[in-house]
Amino acid sequence: MLPHMPRLFAFARRLTGNQEQAEDVVQEAYLRAWRFFHRFEAGTNARAWLFKILHNVFLNTRKPARMREVQMPEEEGMDDFLLYNRLVRDGGWKDPLDISPEKFDHMFGDEVKRALDRLPGTYRFPLLLCDVEGLSYEQIAQVMGIPGGTVRSRLFRGRAILQRELTEYARKQGILKPGRA
């Protein structure tokens, strides 16, 4: 279980948005994992099991509102490709294929982290599990104790909110032309 600690910590750091709280959450999760190791089913995904424990610790150590305070925004009108669409339309990209990880990181890397920190936990948790940890929707549903349809819905909304935040950032930075919604 210990080899998973760096991944678990990186995850907790983004989840809590705070170094000290991330350490506390990981420490408590490992203590529980150790004490309840007899419940771990051999042959199943150890990392997913640890994330499930981490999820419970996180819920118990935060104010309940942290994960539940946000009303689900309507999916209608949300765009999970908003940034791309705006960059192509307003960003003056002559060749939309002219993008590299380095270029994207230079333009948006810091803001991606900040936008993740601002994203409500309801969306941040499944988004990190899917996009960073590569867990399947079924595994995320098990980790979070929610139906698969809810996972899909939260992923869509989380990604759309992130897109909206990055698009707003791009507008403020002058990457996008101002004045167009």
Partner: protein
């Protein structure tokens, strides 16, 4: 996947919308092999859909890199090891 050579050839075709809706499912590994092949065939012909996929893939890659760049403090590893050792030594300590 090959980068499409011409721009805009298939931008107006009706299946672009379907492909757009499947981009995340493709990246999330949720498509059947047949569906994946069909999407890939479209992507090889359609620069707009291809660049949308590439942009999304790159964004995810950067997010992953940034999140995983956080270093786990050595002190935390030591603390957890010590905590587990202490707990293992307790008469009531369970695994």
């Amino acid at each position: 996947m090959r980068r499409p050579k011409r721009h805009g050839d298939h931008a107006g075709k009706p299946d672009c919308r379907k492909v757009r809706d499947q981009v995340f499912h493709l990246l999330d590994g949720r498509l059947t092999p047949a569906r994946r092949r069909a999407i890939r065939r479209h992507l090889e012909q359609c620069p707009r859909c291809f660049s949308r996929l590439e942009f999304t893939r790159i964004m995810r890659q950067v997010m992953r890199r940034r999140v995983l760049a956080e270093r786990c403090p050595v002190a935390l590893v030591r603390r957890i090891r010590a905590m587990i050792s202490r707990d293992a030594g307790r008469p009531s300590g369970k695994r």
